[in-house]
């Protein structure tokens, strides 16, 4: 399995998973309604400096968003077409920012710490008689596999180019990428089921 977790330790690694998760939630809620391009761009710079602070080749970790550029282009084109080019830019910068922030969490947090944090955070649902484990496990796996899916898209592009696929018809890659994603979901699901599913054997 492709992993974007960096075992190296940084100041970010040393923070509690729960705190990081909470911070990510709040920051996302704050960013979501923003419409000022200038503000978003400065936040992006801020985010980049956080990557930089991770140490050697910290900045290189930002490349996770690169394979997504066709989608960004599509968003831009769509907004351009509807006469709101700036809104397009805002949407793209916002998305890049959110992905980069989420990636900061995944690369500095062990999967099981994230899982425990989620399980703790979900405690209120136990008051309704539900168990936290299934939901926490599903969500933590989802968070973990988002960057993997992005990477998958990039791999298809390489395979396409290796076989001499025309750059212009790259949009055709959406189909194998989607199939790849479904297959990945299948494998994750099977592996999980084979070891007791989201609820385990308790």
């Amino acid at each position: 399995m492709i992993s974007l977790y960096r075992p190296a330790s940084s100041w970010l690694h040393n923070h509690r998973a729960g705190h990081k998760l909470l911070a990510l939630c709040f920051v996302s809620i704050f960013i979501f309604p923003l419409t000022s391009l200038a503000l978003l761009l400065s936040l992006l710079m801020l985010c980049a400096s956080m990557y930089l602070s991770l140490g050697k080749d910290g900045l290189a970790e930002m490349r996770v968003v690169v394979p997504l550029w066709p989608w960004f282009l599509m968003m831009l084109a769509f907004h351009w077409y509807s006469g709101e080019p700036v809104a397009g830019l805002v949407a793209v910068v916002k998305m890049v920012l959110m992905i980069l922030l989420a990636n900061l969490l995944t690369l500095s947090t062990r999967q099981s710490d994230l899982l425990s944090a989620l399980q703790q955070g979900l405690t209120p649902i136990t008051w309704l008689g539900f168990s936290t484990r299934p939901l926490a496990l599903s969500v933590s796996l989802m968070i973990r596999y988002i960057p993997v899916l992005v990477l998958l898209l990039g791999q298809h592009r390489q395979a396409w180019r290796a076989r001499g696929g025309a750059e212009r018809r790259k949009w055709l890659l959406v189909v194998p990428a989607l199939i790849g994603a479904l297959r990945l979901a299948d494998h994750v699901g099977e592996s999980l089921t084979a070891r007791g599913g989201v609820s385990g054997f308790r």
């Binding site: 992993s3 168990s131 494998h187 989201v198 385990g200």
Partner: protein
């Protein structure tokens, strides 16, 4: 919401029926898209090591997937350690560990320790206890330095070993391997086989590599979804080789 409710039925703790054979299959039919894939299989398997052989598409993987609840039979009865597989599908993995062909499809967690600990937390252990046990296990295997390695950084053979250990840590009674050797080089295969032979668990192994099965107590040859031959290793393997060379 569905899996919340399923949760309740999973909870009912089950114990294996003592003295029941590992696998008791009667007239099991499995269909997919209108096609009969397993055609009324009846088998009682309780030997320590059972090998399953047969052509591509003969139904071996389908058979294996029935055993730990990844699939359910359309008709017939299937009991695994005395437990009705159609009723308690979700409990089967507790008794039957499954090793996939491709370790990349099995490994869920980014580091070795987490992958090993996961199965233990599935059994109800706290994360901390699970990680401690996993560490001890790694130490016993003389691989403690793997603990914090990204699972992705392991070689194919090492990954497959990680998968095996994660399953063994859950102490299943039966271990099912579906061509789990395909990506290993010859030396790793023999190493891996030797490790398997050291285990206490019952073993059900699907493979195209007949010489790995030489010492197995029993071999079943599946052909087009039915049992073509069933018996000791020597007889069944030579019959299969004969068929492979000359046809039926």
């Amino acid at each position: 919401m569905r899996w919340f409710r399923q949760e309740k039925s999973r909870r009912s703790a089950l114990s294996a029926v003592s003295g029941a054979p590992a696998i008791d299959m009667r007239n099991v039919v499995y269909k997919r898209a209108g096609k009969v894939i397993l055609d009324g299989l009846s088998l009682q398997l309780d030997e320590r090591r059972v090998g399953i052989i047969g052509d591509n598409g003969s139904g071996k993987s389908t058979f294996a997937r029935l055993l730990n609840g990844l699939l359910s039979p359309d008709s017939g009865t299937l009991k695994v350690f005395g437990i009705d597989a159609t009723q308690h599908t979700a409990s089967l993995p507790q008794f039957v560990g499954f090793l996939f062909q491709n370790p990349d499809h099995q490994i869920l967690f980014p580091t070795v320790l987490e992958e090993l600990a996961f199965g233990l937390t599935q059994l109800g252990l706290k994360q901390g206890d699970a990680e401690r046990l996993a560490r001890e296990y790694l130490r016993a295997q003389c691989r403690i330095e793997w603990a914090d390695r990204p699972s992705q950084s392991l070689s194919e053979g090492e990954k497959q070993r990680l998968c095996l250990w994660s399953v063994l840590l859950m102490k299943p009674r039966l271990l099912v391997l579906d061509e789990s050797f395909a990506s290993l080089d010859l030396r790793s295969r023999y190493d891996f086989m030797a490790e398997l032979n050291r285990q206490q668990q019952q073993l059900l192994m699907i493979t195209h590599e007949l010489d790995l099965l030489e010492n197995f107590e029993r071999i079943v040859w599946l052909h087009k979804g039915s049992v073509k031959a069933d018996g000791d290793a020597k007889t069944v393997i030579s019959a299969y080789k004969q068929y492979a060379r000359n046809g039926l």
